[in-house]
Each structure stands twice: as C-alpha cells, then as structure tokens.
Amino acid sequence: MNEIPAQLARTITRRQLFQNAGAGIGGMALASLFEQDGFASTSTSSGILGAGGLHFPPRAKNVIYVHMVGAPSHLDLFDYKPELQKRSGELCPDYMFKGKQLAFIREQPTLMGTPKGDQFAFKRCGKSGLAISNLLPNLQTVADEMCFIRTLHTDQFNHAPAQMFLLTGFQQFGRPSIGAWTSYGLGSENRNLPNFVVLVTGQVLGAGNSAWGSGFLPTIHQGIEFRSQGDPVLFLSNPKGINPSDRKKVVNSVNRLNNLSLAEVGDPEIETRIKQYEMAYRMQTSVPELMDIKDEPKEIHEMYGTEPGKTSFANNCLLARRLVERGVRFVQLFDQGWDHHSSLSTNLPRKASQVDRPLAALVKDLKMRGLLDETLIVWSAEFGRTPMAQGTNSGGEKTKAGRDHHKEAYTVWMAGGGVKPGHMHGITDEFGYGIVEDGVHVHDFNATLMRLLGIDHERLTFRYQGLRLRLTSVHGKVCEGVLA
C-alpha cells in the first residue's frame, strides 16, 4: 500500500518554516494572534497554562480531531462479533430492548450480523493483530499506529445532543467545545492563523456552530471554519477593484489615525486594534497560501486521493496536516453522512471508501514528517450503532436494514501523540452491545485527551456563574490504559 516515496522525505519542510511566515507590514512584534479586552492574561500565546506550566509533560502539542457525523457502525468496522454473526436474524435478547431508550426502533428488533462477503470480512492487521474490516483496506496498513477504545459510552442518543455532549461535555447549548478549551489552555503557536480551525465536508452537523463554539470562554477560542467554497475565512478577500497594495494603504491609514488616537486617549486597546489590522492583512496572504494544495507533490496527492480545488474529506485531511505543520493547535474535521438507519450494506462501504485512504495517508504523512509523535489524531463519533437491525424509517415505512443509534458502547480510535500504538482498550460483550471490561465514559475520554496534551482536566477551569466550570463537568477519569 502507498509506501512513502523516498524522495519525499528529503523535501519535507520543517514546521518552523511556516510558523512565522507572512511578512508583517508594520514590522511590529505581536504579543498574540488575538487579544481580548480584559482578558489579556488569558490570550497570551502560551495560553492560560503557559505561564504556570502545564500540569503534566505534554505527549502531544496539536490535535487533529476527525468526527464522523451521524455515527458509523463500530460493529461493522472495528468490533467484530462472531456471536452476533451466528445469531443474526434472531429476536434480540430483552435486555437490549425492554426499558431502553432507542431513537427509531419501536418494536423488539432482530439481531443483525455484519453483511456477508469478503468486502465486509475482518482482517487481523500488522504486528499488533488489531482486527479491522476490509472496508478500510488502507487503515489496515497503519493498524500498528492505532489505539482503539472499544468501550466508549455516552449519555445521549439523539444526534445534536450527543454531539454537544461529546464535544462540549454537556448535552445542552452554552458550553465551550474541546477545541476551545485546548486553545484556552495551551494558547497559540502561529501568529498568522487562528488557533482552532474547523473543516467540514457535507452538511453541517446538527449541533451547528456550537460543536466548535467557545461557550462562556472568551470568543477568541472558538473554532474558525475554513470554508471550501468562497472565502476560506469570511471576508478575507478584498472587494472587487481593491488590490493588496490598496488594502495595505487602507490598513496603514487606519493605523496611522489610530496611533494618533492612542497618543491622545491612551487606551491600550487601541494598540491591540492596530496589531489586529496588521494581522488581518497578513492573513489575507497566509490563509490562501495554506488552503492552496496544488503545489503539494504528486505522490502526496496520490497518497491522500486529493484533488486541488475540490471539496472532499481527502482535501481536508491534507489541509489538516498543513495546519498542524503551521502550528495550529486544534484542527477539527467533520464529515457528514454516517447515519445509516437503512441500507447499511451499501451506505457504509460508500462512506468508508471516502475516508479510508485519506485517513491512512494522514497517519503516514505525519509519521514521515516526524509530526506524528507530537500530533494526536482522534477519530470519533457521537455514538455507535445497535447490534439490532432497524427496518423502518422515521415515517414508519419499511426499508432495507440498517442500525439505530447506540450509546452503550462504541469504538473510537486515536493515533500519534502519546497513545499506545497498536493497542486495543476495553472489551464489549458478545454482541458488541454493552461493556464487559474497561468502560470509558465520554467524560473519561475527554479527560484522557486533555491529559495527552499535558492538561489536568480538573484544573483547567473557567469561573462562570460563580462556578469553576470545566470540560468534564464533575466527572472524568483519565484512561491510563491508552497512554504510551
């Protein structure tokens, strides 16, 4: 499979090269990318924890967090269950149905095994022998880098609340997202790009912008969506008839007058504003440069399956690498289309084939560049799917079989920064329905991700409404088993 061409390794650019790219028009040294009135201490480039030091030695500096919106079937991709296969078609045991909250299933359903055929078969991969479905042939080649948690569980079984619960630690609106917490804690390494960048393929997820919102944290920590159509960052490009040199003129003039004002009024906020105008001007170059992947070598395009100018998950994976290369702290990818209530046997292969190659390429590419050690890749979803078949749609009509939402146990995986490679954590029961050993609650998972970044989830707090609030509410226990 896509071996990394040797000549590529020689052309690798060092991330430092990018981090200070973009010439400042005023030549003024900047204290931070964003400044916030009255929050100056929280927005220094080193983050709230920077000054006092991190709680633990960090295992990862950056995160690429890939969220499969809609929730793929863990049973058909990562958690193979011979017993489920054997009893496929039987009515499910009562414990799976009676008294349970299910989103769509209303009558006692039958068990459903993974579809038959080689396409759906599982293979033990690499030295670690992790079992991965043939639907993900490329990921099978990087199994020895992956660390599975097969026993993640959540409290929510509807999409939008479950997305918010996973990503903000709370099922209702109003809390900061994990990316915002990370930015708040660790600060920024790049002065020309936002610290938390979001890339989306397909429709936006149900939780909307809240999935990457800053909640009660300063808004500078919210994710900034880089769009694949139109301006990558809203209002980045100049109006028609205005060229970069004209824009520079305007920025200089505004800043000149603001400087006069600063001398007269003395408000330090004016100084910050002056810096932001310079930054805005630099972003007009640095962001398009970042988004333009056409100069990537052919081998890279082949490895990812990228096509410049197209909107695709593959392009977003490559952009994610370019972003962490430039020191962007938290990159989050959302990919819609995994809610397979029906026709699992056709829908799942289609979606799997869209993400398999680019994800494997991302792991290999980061490794090749020496970035995998300091970058944590997270692959997740808001919940898993039932071992039981679902055969009707939301209107109650019969459909080809799929699976319903499942919160009791599902699989996510990580790779890179500080996780045990080629490792499997947790055991589910014979049907992949519930947990037998080493359950990991969403709060535990988030606590673990924080830990990998050197953060004690109990100590990264923000005072709001008289409370010291944090990502993990009053819960969360680091899952030591996955730490390398």
Binding site: A160, F173, G174, L234, S253, S261, P268, T392, T399, Q465
Partner: protein, 1024 residues
C-alpha cells in the same frame, strides 16, 4: 496527629511572610475576606450539599462550625490553635490535610493567615451580602448620591477623577448609550448652541423618549431571553416569535414598570382577562431551544426546556446559578435540590412542544401553543370573503358529483371520438438549463436533462425551450431514472429512498424579441403517483412549503401533467418557454433526470387508461358494475366543468394562504397540573420525592394569598422584600453603560461572586429603582446625569497604572460597541438606516453558504432588496446554528442559552469584516456619496471635516485633516491611473446605493477609500 512543633513552625512561616490587606485597626470582614476562601476551598464538602458532605461537618453554618464534637470544634472562636480546622489546614500528614491534595485546591499563605486572624478575632459569621435587603445610604439624593459614593471610594484609593468630557464626546456617548445611534449633525449643533443649564438633561430626555431607545435596550434583554428565530439543534427551522421582540421594544419605549414587565413576561397569560399584549409577552419563555430531530423523546425535550426556563429565570432575576441544583444541592449557595424542583414545579404545567404529526414512526415537528396575531381589517375582510367563497365552491363540487347525469352522454361521445384522433404529446427540445447550485448536468438524446455532481440541499432548476407548437393545453413533466443516479433515481439525495420533492412548478412564455414574459396559469395537476400528503396539486399551489413527492415508489419513473388555463403557443412565431422547478425540501431531495413534453389537442382525452378505453368501446348496456363505476370516477376526474371548479377552488385557497396570518409563541397553562418530582442526578427518567410549587426557603417568603402558579411566582420575584432582583437589574444596566458591573460577575450574586466594588452605591441604586416604582428610564437618567458618567474617558498613564480596568470610575467609560451597535452606527452615519420598526425578521446581505445546515423545512436566506436591507440589527433574523456572521465576529452569541454578559474581543476577523464585508462596502460607498452630496461645492478638507462630523461627531485635528487630505490625493492619483478599479469600486454598491450624479468614478472611489478608513477607525466602533 502530628507533633505540635511542626504546626507551630508553619504558623511562624505564615505569620512572617504575610501581611494582611486590611488597614490597621480594621477587623476582618467575613463577607469580604473569609467567605470567598471558605466557599472556594471548603464548601464543596462542608457546605450545604448534604449528599456530597464529608465528615458530617458544615462550615457554612456558624453553629455547626463551632459545635464541639468529642471536645473539639472545627472552629473555636478566639483561638486558632484550639480549632480543628486550623490544625488540619497545616498538618503535614497529607492524609489528614485540608483541603485534601486530591481536591486540587490549595490555600495561599495569605489566605491561611486571614483565616487564623479571623478565628482569633472571634470567627464572626455574617450573612452573604446579597441576601440582605438593600438600604439607602447616601446623604444626598439623585445623581449626586452616585457621585458622592464614587468619590468616597476614589478618596480611599487616592485617585483623582477626571473632568467632564467635552460636549461632543459626551453627546455621542449618551446618544449611543440611550438610543444606540450616534447624534446627527443637527443634534450636535443644537446641543453645542444651547446655552441653558439644562441642555444636557434635555438631550437625555429626548433620547429616553425616542423610539430608538427601546430598540437599543432590547438587545441585552434579548440576549438574556435567548431570543432567536429558530429552534436550534438538527434542522434548526425558523419559527415565528418576533411579536415578542416587538412587545419588548414597545414595553421599553413605554417605560413599563419593571415589576409589570416581569409579571407579563413570566405569567401574562395568567393575569385576569389578560390582553393580547400580555399573552405575547410570555414569548419570553417560549424562546427556548427545541429538538425536533427524528427519534427525539418529547418528554426529555420538554424537561430540558423547563430546566432552561428555571435556570434562565434564576440568572435574570435572581443573579443566581440554579443550574447546579438540578442534579445536587448547591455546593455554595443556600439552595437545595428540593428548592430547585419547587421552582421547577411553577413552570411544569405547559404542554409538550414537539409532536409526532403522523402518529407513527419517529418523525417530529415543532409544536406547542401558538397564538394568531391580529391583522388589518381589510385582511380579515378578505379572509372571510375567501372562506365563504371556498365553502360555496365546495358545495357546488359536491352537488356536481352527486348529479352525475348532466352532459355525461356528450362527454362519452367526445371521449370515443378522441380515441380515434388522440391528442399528441410533443417532446420539448431543451435550449438551456440552469440551476442555482453548482450541479453538473448533461442533456441526453431523448431531451431529458441528467443532473449529477454536487448534491445541494435544495435546488432551483430553470429549463428553457423554444417551440413552434401552438394550442398547447398541457405540459408533462417526466421524472426519469438513470444508472448514474443514487438508487437509479429519480431523486438524488439517497440511494435507498430516492425521493424528490417538487415544491413548485411554473411555466413562463415569451415570444422572440418581446420583452413581455407571461406566467402561464396552470389549472390542474395530475400524476401517475403521489405520496401521501404530497399530492401533485401541491406543485402548483403557490406554497413553497408543500410539494409533489413519490415515496415509497422509488427507483422508477414518474410523470405529472399540468393543464393550462388557456391554450398557449403562437401559430405565427416560435415561443420561448421557461420552466422553473423549485425543490425546497432539503437533504438533496431533488430531481435527477427530467424531461418535458407539451400536449396539443383536447386534454380531456388524454391518458385514458386502458380499462376505460375498453369500457368506452363497450356498449353501455354491456358494461359490468366495476366498469360502470370506474367510468363514473373517470368522468368526474376529467370533466372540464368539474376541473374548472377545482381550479377555482385551488385559486381561492391559494389566495387565502397568501394572506398574512402571523402568529407568535406563547405560554399556556394546562388545565391539569403535572406532578413534579425531584429528579435524581437531574435525570428526567429518575423521579424521586414529590414536590409542590415553592420558592427557596433561604430567600424572602412567598406571601400568603399569592396563587401557586407562574403568576404567583412572578409576583414573588417582584416582592420588594426580594434582596436580589433590584440589585441584579441595576447592575446589568450599569454594566451596559460603564462596560462592567459594580458586581463584576453580572450573572452571579451568590457566595462565589465577586463582592461589589461599591456596595453602598449598588444598594442605593437598587433602592432608588424600587422606590421610583421600578422605573427604568428614571434609573438610567439618574446614572447618565451623574458626573461619574460624564467624565472624560481619557486613559491617563497614572490611571492606567492605578486602575487599568476603571473599577473606581475616575474616568468615563470607553469600550467597543456591541455588534449590532457597530452596524447601526455605520448605517446611520452613511445615511442608509431605515428606522422602520417591528415585524418579521429581516435578512440583510450575507455571504452565500452560511445557512447550510439542512434537514426538513430548512430555511432559505432571501436577501432583502428594499429598505429592510438597512434596518437596525435588532430586527436581523437570528438562526441559532448560524447567526449573522458579521455579528458573530463582534461577539454576538448564538442565543441558544441565556447570556447576560457578552465578551468583548479585539480580533483580525473584525478588521476583515469592517474592511471587506460587502455590507460594509455598501455602507462605505453610501457614506462617500453622502459626504459629496452634502458638501457639493467644497474642497477636500471641508469634505473630510464633514466626514469626521458624520462618523465621529467631531471635527478632525489639524494633523488628522492634513493626513487624510494627503491620503485622498494619493488615492485620487492612483485611481486616475487605474480607471478600471475606480469603475469597479463604484459598482460594488450595486443598485442599493444611490450615488450623487456626475461625479467621476475616480473621485467617487477615492472618497470611498476615505469613507472606509473612517468606518474602520477604533474611535468609530468605540463608545468613548
């Protein structure tokens, strides 16, 4: 126990290195110094939460803390060394040490010493300040009291107050604060030339009485009320509750007393003989988010909504964080879970707000009490008229169906004849296909269009065909399958359920060279198959929300036939036909392959089913019963008279649907109250003990005689004995004016809050507010008339050093305006602002692709093209999943949850917005035009002066003027050499910006640059 020596040693250390903050002779104050330490470090386990309590010890209650157990008390007054708590604070035994290391809480040496001294001084407790009713404590009255109480503190801090701001600055400040808009040049000159001592007060009165006042002050309240125009969550559809927003603006303008204002919003529906307006006011609590995604559990949704109502009420009226008491007793404040569900009970009696419309499956709709709003008399009259017309036509139709005899024979003869000479369908050759998305398409040999590529949520196709046909009596739309479509089609969104929804089908005709385009009236629709409640008739009903769909008959072709009212097509020349196919449902339920045909001939004879043909050819006597009845049905279906009736009916219904019938969301109490239980861990599925409606015991009593419902609760909130509500409210207003509150934790007045910087001032304002009869305008007026408010806002180096955040108010307020105010200000100074009030939300310019969240009934952004484009920000539509992006860049919230304090950031995205957002480009052009228009014959410097006056309400300094003159000249010269750029810049305003005539593009464009620079200045977006 550790040896005493170790304890002593650490004691010595503590005493050696710590100097206490209190001034000599001052005793330690429990509220100021001690409570924050205990609350932060101890109450978590030794506070009011019984469940989480450790060692059976409470430190929040004086007697419990001082109670002797086995000869030891945790706190032994006058002797730290005898106090168990002191011992455990210092012990080296980490298993014993308090707070336990694993709690990750640690006291500083200073805090430890404070506790020790406090114990030595007698360990006196005091109730939390916020729960003691406020009292007046100034010797003077009115604005002077504010100044006196501020001066006391300044003196203590040894700070000197700045003098009053210059009149122009002051006028701009107070105008922005009270009306949200800057002063006009004539208002400026009126103020500057008014010699009277009351000049400033007159301005204040004018602003308080302006209609703009309510619009400006609605904004912070709408944040608190988490008012938005959409549901939130998955599909985030729009819903109507703008009447509530209008109610709010009107109530603020009318200066409705705050107690009434509160009662109407929380319980207007329960007031005796409640008025329409009082019911609309209850929209306050119908603004909560609502999840209607498939598979949602309605009861869970309802429970979450009630939780939100309780929490929001707690924050807005009590400055109290009730959220944590949902799951456990409060760790810090005196509220138990039982208190929480006692309040919950008041709000627990409204109906479910999602419904399953079909009664099967798991698909849900937004639902819940809606109230129709009154409309104009003329509309009502028209409605009645149409309703009776519809009734009449319906009766006719029934009669007709009953009376089957008339004309039947003739019809049969005609049918039989047309079987011999059948009307003919003609394929329409496609000359042009366009679509609103970036789909790719191909025209196939059979003249069908195959649409592939990107699947947009919704679609709008336009198909043009030139034809020489005349006498066209119907059009046929074929929705065909193809191997390249998911599941073969005919829809594009899903290979399993390959449905499409055709929302509207329209045809327009024009003859070559003629500018007249005529909409062809379609009178009937018929299809081979229509999905339940998605009848093909919906495709021509003028309603974009309904449509034609084909589930569950997927994966096969379908057709629809639309008859024209009049034959169309010209005998003498060709006709250009333009078909529009709107497909608004979302989720890619769009057509994958379409073909169009036109019918020439008698449409009644068309599509005679085979069985009917056979029957017609059979003699009447020989027809069997089934044949007879089938023929009868077919007759009714194809009878022209009946068809006409149907058409008239459809027309009337369409007219009725088009008449405005606005509604708004309101609270309605159910006849039978729900039982409320404490929910274990806040889980709606784990009810524990039953509770009845009650208010927290730690607050003022619920007066006897108050009803045990929302109305009683609202009245309890506004009881003058409530120690919180007046303080919390005036503090929010103070923060709006000064940038931060007297209590900086605006959202929380509990024991974890920051103590007020000026407790006496806060209390004075609270009492003044209550005693004025809860008069908001009076309170605001009192504040803005004070010297404290009117001070110069210059940040002198010494003030920057001594009081960087201006906590002591030696200088006037200076901070960045809110998102809406920045836009309103820019619209005003450019002369674009429309002051039209009220009504449905507006959609000004927004970049494409912002509203992408799709699902059922996904709303569409339809950009305003008239004055609505330039109305105030308070009227801009608020969709929670994607609020207006330029507002978001200036820290506007998504309004999904109650927010009483917006952050204020300073970011590069803000610079990009003001420079590049096409909305601001339009505004800059308009400003450029205005400057020239109002100073037609003056030189550059005079025009720059005017620009300054408009944008900043002041004259430029000499330096500023000469610099901008220079910039103008440089730009002018540059544009002279770049005429294409100049022309383009002038064009960027589109048709919306009327520029002065006969100004060369290069001059206009150079002024655009000046205008844009002015709009981007820090001073422009600051209130100073």
């Amino acid at each position: 126990m550790k040896p005493a020596a170790a304890i002593c040693l650490s004691l010595v250390c503590a005493r050696l290195f710590v100097s206490l903050p209190t001034m000599a002779g001052d005793k330690i104050d429990f509220n100021q110094d001690i409570r924050p330490i205990l609350s932060e470090n101890c109450y978590h386990c030794h506070g009011q939460d019984a469940e989480g309590r450790k060692g059976d010890l409470r430190l929040d209650l004086e007697e419990e803390a001082k109670k002797s157990v086995d000869g030891h008390a945790a706190i032994s007054p006058k002797s730290r060394d005898k106090s168990k708590a002191w011992e455990l604070l210092l012990t080296k035994d980490m298993d014993e040490r308090m707070p336990p290391p694993k709690s990750k809480r640690k006291l500083t040496a200073k805090e430890i010493e404070l506790l020790g001294t406090w114990i030595d001084e007698g360990a006196q407790y005091a109730p939390h300040w916020a729960y003691i009713p406020p009292t007046r404590n100034a010797v003077v009255s009115g604005s002077k009291a504010i100044d006196q109480l501020v001066a006391d503190r300044l003196k203590k801090e040894q700070l000197e107050a700045l003098p009053e701001a210059d009149p122009r600055t002051l006028l701009r400040r107070v105008s922005l604060d009270l009306s949200g808009l800057p002063p006009t040049p004539s208002e400026i000159s009126a103020f500057l030339t008014d010699p009277s001592d009351q000049a400033y007060e007159k301005v204040v009165d004018r602003l308080l009485n302006s209609k703009r006042f309510g619009e400006r002050w609605a904004r912070p309240w709408l944040d608190a009320a988490r008012y938005a125009d959409s549901n939130g969550f998955q599909a985030d559809q729009l819903r109507d509750s703008w009447a509530y927003r209008d109610w709010l603006i009107d109530a603020l303008n009318a200066n409705m007393p705050f107690d009434q204002f509160t009662i109407e919003q929380l319980a207007g529906d329960l007031l005796p003989n409640s008025s329409l307006s009082q019911k609309i006011a209850t929209g306050f609590h119908r603004t909560v988010t609502c999840n209607v995604e498939a598979g949602v559990h309605p009861e869970e949704n309802r429970y979450n909504q009630v939780v939100d109502r309780v929490n929001t009420t707690g924050t807005v009226w009590l400055g109290t964080t009730l959220a944590c008491v949902q799951c456990h007793d409060h760790k810090y404040d005196p509220f138990s879970m039982k208190d929480y569900y006692g309040i919950f009970s008041f709000f627990n009696n409204t109906p479910l707000e999602v419904e399953n419309p079909s009664g099967k499956g798991v698909s849900f709709n937004f639902y819940g009490p809606k109230m129709p709003l009154p409309v104009d008399d003329s509309v009502t009259k028209k409605k009645t008229q149409l309703a009776s017309q519809i009734k009449e036509l319906d009766k006719h139709r029934q009669n007709f169906t009953a009376d089957k005899a008339g004309g039947r024979k003739a019809w049969e003869a005609r049918m039989l004849a047309s079987l011999k000479d059948p009307p003919e369908w003609h394929e329409l050759k496609i000359t042009k296909f366009t679509s609103a998305g970036d789909e790719t398409f191909k025209i196939l040999d059979d003249q069908s269009v195959l649409i592939t590529g990107r699947v947009p949520g919704t679609a709008h196709y336009e198909i043009t065909s030139e034809t020489k046909l005349s006498g066209i009596t119907a059009f046929k739309l074929e929705a065909l399958t193809h191997d390249q479509l998911p599941g073969k089609g005919p829809g594009r969104g899903d290979d399993e359920r390959s449905n499409f929804i055709l929302s509207e089908f329209e045809v327009r005709a024009s003859s070559p060279g003629s500018p007249n385009i005529q909409l062809i009236e379609l009178i009937s629709a018929q299809a081979d198959f229509s999905q339940n409640s998605w009848d093909v008739k919906n495709a021509i009903d003028g309603n974009q929300k309904t449509g034609w769909a084909i589930a569950p008959q997927f994966h096969k072709p379908h057709w629809a036939i639309f008859r024209t009212a009049q034959p169309c097509g010209s005998k003498t020349s060709s006709t250009s036909l333009r078909f529009t196919l709107d497909q608004n449902y979302g989720r890619g339920r769009t057509l994958g392959r379409v073909r169009l045909l036109a019918l020439v001939g008698d449409p009644n004879a068309v599509e005679i089913p085979e069985g009917i043909t056979a029957t017609l050819q059979t003699r009447p006597q020989k027809r069997n019963k089934k044949q007879q009845s089938d023929l009868e049905k077919f007759y009714i279906k194809t009878n022209p008279e009946l068809q006409q009736l149907e058409a008239m009916l459809a027309q009337s219904k369409k007219q009725l649907a088009a008449l405005p019938s606005p509604s708004t969301l309101v609270m309605v109490e159910m006849d039978k109250a729900r039982e409320t239980h404490v929910m274990k861990r806040g889980n709606y599925l784990s009810p524990a003990e039953k509770v009845s409606a009650s208010t927290p015991k730690s607050l003022h009593p619920f007066k006897a005689g108050l009803p045990g419902n929302r109305l009683g609760f609202a009245k309890w909130l506004m009881d003058p004995a409530n120690p919180l509500v007046a303080r919390v409210t005036v503090n929010r207003w103070w923060a709006e004016l000064f940038g931060h509150g007297l209590v900086s934790t605006i959202e929380d007045f509990g024991t974890q809050s920051t103590p007020p910087s000026h407790p006496k001032l806060l209390d004075w304002l609270a009492v003044e507010f209550m005693e004025s009869g809860w008069d908001m305008k009076h309170t605001l007026k009192t504040i803005v008339l004070s010297d404290t408010y009117r001070r110069d806002s210059k940040v002198t180096p010494s003030l920057l050093k001594e009081d960087p955040a201006n906590r002591f108010y030696a200088r006037g307020p200076r901070f960045r305006m809110s998102a809406e105010m920045i836009r309103d200000n820019a619209l005003t100074v450019s002369g674009l602002l429309s002051t039209k009030m009220h009504g449905p939300p507006i959609m000004p310019y927004q970049p494409t692709g912002i509203w992408r969240q799709v699902g059922r009934n996904e709303p569409k952004w339809i950009e305003e093209k008239d004055e609505d484009r330039f109305r105030r920000g308070v009227y801009v539509v608020w969709r929670r999943a994607a609020p207006y992006p330029s507002f978001v860049n200036f820290d506007a919230p998504d309004r999904s949850a109650c927010l009483v304090k917006r952050p204020r950031t300073n970011t590069p995205l803000q610079a990009l917005t003001l420079m590049n957002d096409p909305a601001y480009v339009e505004i800059a052009l308009a400003l450029a035009g205005r400057i020239i228009r109002e100073r037609p014959n003056e030189d550059i410097a005079a025009r720059i002066d005017h620009g300054f006056e408009l944008v900043l309400g002041r004259q430029p300094t000499k330096q500023e003027r000469s610099y901008l003159v220079e910039v103008f000249q440089e730009r002018f010269q540059h544009l002279q050499s770049a005429p294409a750029d100049a022309a383009q810049i002038v064009k960027n305003g589109g048709s919306y910006i009327k520029l002065p005539a006969r100004i060369p593009a290069k001059e206009m464009a150079a002024w655009f640059y000046i205008a844009s620079i002015l709009l981007n200045l820090d001073e422009t977006i600051n209130k100073g």
